[in-house]
């Protein structure tokens, strides 16, 4: 059984299919060696914690994390969460944060990708500068923007006062109404370059002949974009939006460092709230129950994510 490459390979494997999956697995046993290290590491660091989180969510736990003393409380932790006002506030914040960040990061990235598509002087340098925020650590970004938003010495406040648009520097992040939008600006600053990179590569797959043909047929720039370019970007846009949405839903650093969730929970999102419950107030059981709820939401996302990715997988192998 010396399978060589794909055509011969798939031929013998089709034969094998009839002989049952265990036999097939045995014949290909050396293949598993290649994935074993990855799967092994992930089982320890991922599967075990997931199991453990689910278990803890049914218990009342002592703050010390001396887990022998935990008490079974059934679904109490879940009930506690769904009845609290903070939960709904934080959920609303998370939705606003995720949707707005994803929307603006994607469309600013799309605009930049389209504007950078054609060759012009300085294009490479410009592209490099636009990518930098994506590479900078979120911790550094949080401090930079915290300083820019500073209520006494911040540069934005100073510009607004200088232009006569405000009497005194506005307080961006200590204000319940402006804190979330202000943080979204920072998040989009870090994320739009990712959308830009993905979409720039996507644009390269749009055949030039098609665009030229459309021009000859009298299509304007907008029509060319909508009928030729956009259909070619559908696949990459789906993946980009999903990856952005997941990253935003899971983000932690920017709100945590810039505001710690305040003022009065106005910038708490799920992840920061769970973190505070667990490591701040040491309510491990409640935090675990939160995590399980989060897990269920993420799994719903995950269904679409896998479908989108398996679409591109089918195409690649097809």
């Amino acid at each position: 059984m010396t399978a060589v490459g794909s055509p011969a390979d798939s031929a013998c494997r089709k034969n094998v299919q009839r002989t049952g999956i265990l036999r097939q697995a045995w014949i290909n046993r050396s293949d598993y060696l290649y994935v074993l290290p990855s799967i092994g590491v992930m089982l320890v660091v991922i599967a075990y914690p997931i199991y453990y989180t689910i278990e803890l969510s049914f218990f009342n736990t002592p703050p010390s994390l001396q887990l022998r003393d935990k008490i079974f409380v059934g679904l109490d932790n879940y009930g506690l969460i769904l009845q609290s006002n903070v939960f709904w506030r934080v959920t609303l914040n998370t939705i606003i944060w995720t949707v707005a960040s994803t929307f603006f990061a994607f469309f600013l990235g799309l605009g930049a990708a389209l504007a950078l598509h054609r060759e012009f002087f300085g294009r490479g340098v410009l592209r490099a500068i636009l990518i930098i925020p994506w590479v900078i650590s979120a911790v550094a970004a949080s401090y930079i923007w915290k300083w820019i938003y500073h209520s006494d010495f911040g540069v934005i406040g100073a510009v607004l006062v200088g232009l006569g648009l405000a009497d005194r520097p506005p307080n961006f992040i200590d204000n319940v109404n402006t804190v979330l939008p202000s943080l979204i600006v920072v998040n989009v600053w870090r994320e739009f370059p990712f959308a830009m990179i993905m979409l720039m590569a996507g644009l390269q797959t749009v055949p030039d002949q098609l665009l030229r043909a459309a021009t000859v047929d009298g299509a304007g720039p907008w029509q060319r974009f909508w009928h030729v370019t956009f259909p070619h970007l559908k696949g990459v846009s789906t993946v980009t939006i999903l990856l952005l949405a997941v990253a935003n839903f899971n983000s932690f650093i920017i709100p945590w460092i810039m505001t710690g969730g305040g003022p009065s929970n106005a910038s708490h999102i799920w992840i920061t709230h769970i973190y505070e419950l667990a490591f701040g107030r040491q309510r491990w059981g409640v935090a675990s129950a939160y995590s399980v709820l989060l897990f269920l939401i993420v799994m719903t996302f995950g269904y679409f994510y896998v479908r989108a990715l398996s679409g591109s997988e089918r195409k690649a192998r097809g």
């Binding site: 697995a25 997931i50 930049a112 636009l130 300083w147 200088g162 720039p221 973190y275 490591f279």
Partner: protein, 293 residues
């Protein structure tokens, strides 16, 4: 340039020009959005502590000074000693993570791209699905696990978690690369008598160097910038990495904005330089998986 030069009537050109100018205006605005915060970081970092706290601000520092940088890089004072220690810790953790990630991800990605063993699809999506889960879900149990393994307050805890959490995307990036290497090359090597493993090492590996570079940058930047695990697992000052170290230092002393900006700059510099030098590999690999037909 795009429309045919044989048709230069003003009527046909006007809308194109309008779109082109819209594009340029947009790029200028994006450049301001991107660059102004970074420029302000640099300008603040060369002010004295007193000059930074003025209103209206000094748009350009009256007396530029490198004092903040000197303080951070001077091993004889306590700030400099800590900063250099954090820097070294970050470098160590990121480098080890990167090397291990490549060693583990390369064979896995190759297997997912080439072989057809039962469960291949399932395992691949299990790997990708991991990417969806926020770190916070894993924090409490991982903290307990690390305590069990005696890894709390060690770099081992960070390397192990960064490795795991970086793997899914690393495998995905590399798999896209292997998918694009023609299988005929390996078949030729097999016909010449190479074993499958030899074909992989001698033929496929050299061709996938750009993908490996991309994976390495991705792992390095991810580990360098990671915050939440380091924040949770490490409590000893001499073991901290930069993102947490900087936070511990400056949150207590929030008026030293030049110092904070200088530290932010120093923390960003290595990854930005690395990325700009190697970005074409990275951009290529990142888009390979999602964009190819």
């Amino acid at each position: 340039m795009m429309n045919s030069p044989s048709n230069p009537t003003p009527k046909a050109r006007r809308p194109i020009d309008r779109w082109r100018w819209t594009g340029r205006l947009f790029l200028v605005l994006m450049l301001l959005y991107t660059a102004v915060p970074m420029i302000w970081m640099l300008l603040t970092s060369i002010k004295s502590g007193f000059a930074a706290l003025q209103f209206p601000p000094q748009w350009w520092p009256d007396e530029p000074t490198l004092a903040s940088y000197q303080k951070l890089l001077d091993p004889t004072n306590s700030v400099g000693r800590d900063f250099l220690r954090f820097f070294w810790n970050s470098l160590f953790v990121s480098t080890v993570t990167t090397i291990l990630a490549v060693i583990v991800a390369v064979p896995a990605a190759y297997a997912f791209s080439r072989f057809d063993f039962p469960g291949r699809k399932f395992l691949f999506f299990a790997v990708l699905l991991r990417n969806m889960f926020p770190a916070v879900i894993f924090l409490v149990p991982l903290f307990i696990l690390m305590r069990l393994l005696g890894l709390v307050n060690t770099h081992g805890s960070l390397i192990l978690t960064y490795l795991t959490f970086g793997l899914p995307l690393a495998i995905w990036l590399l798999k896209g690369f292997y998918d694009n290497i023609p299988i005929q090359l390996e078949q030729a090597a097999r016909i010449d008598g190479a074993t499958r493993f030899q074909a992989f090492i001698l033929v496929v590996m050299p061709l996938s160097v750009p993908g490996i570079i991309a994976t390495a940058i991705y792992s390095f930047i991810g580990a360098w910038n990671e915050y939440i695990f380091a924040y949770t697992f490490i409590n000893r000052n001499d073991q901290l990495t930069l993102p947490v170290g900087i936070q511990r230092f400056f949150s207590e002393n929030t008026t030293d904005f030049p110092g904070l900006m200088a530290a932010s700059f120093m923390m960003s510099l290595p990854v930005v330089v690395l990325f700009l030098l190697l970005q074409r590999y990275f951009v290529k690999a990142l888009t390979e998986g999602a964009v190819k037909h």
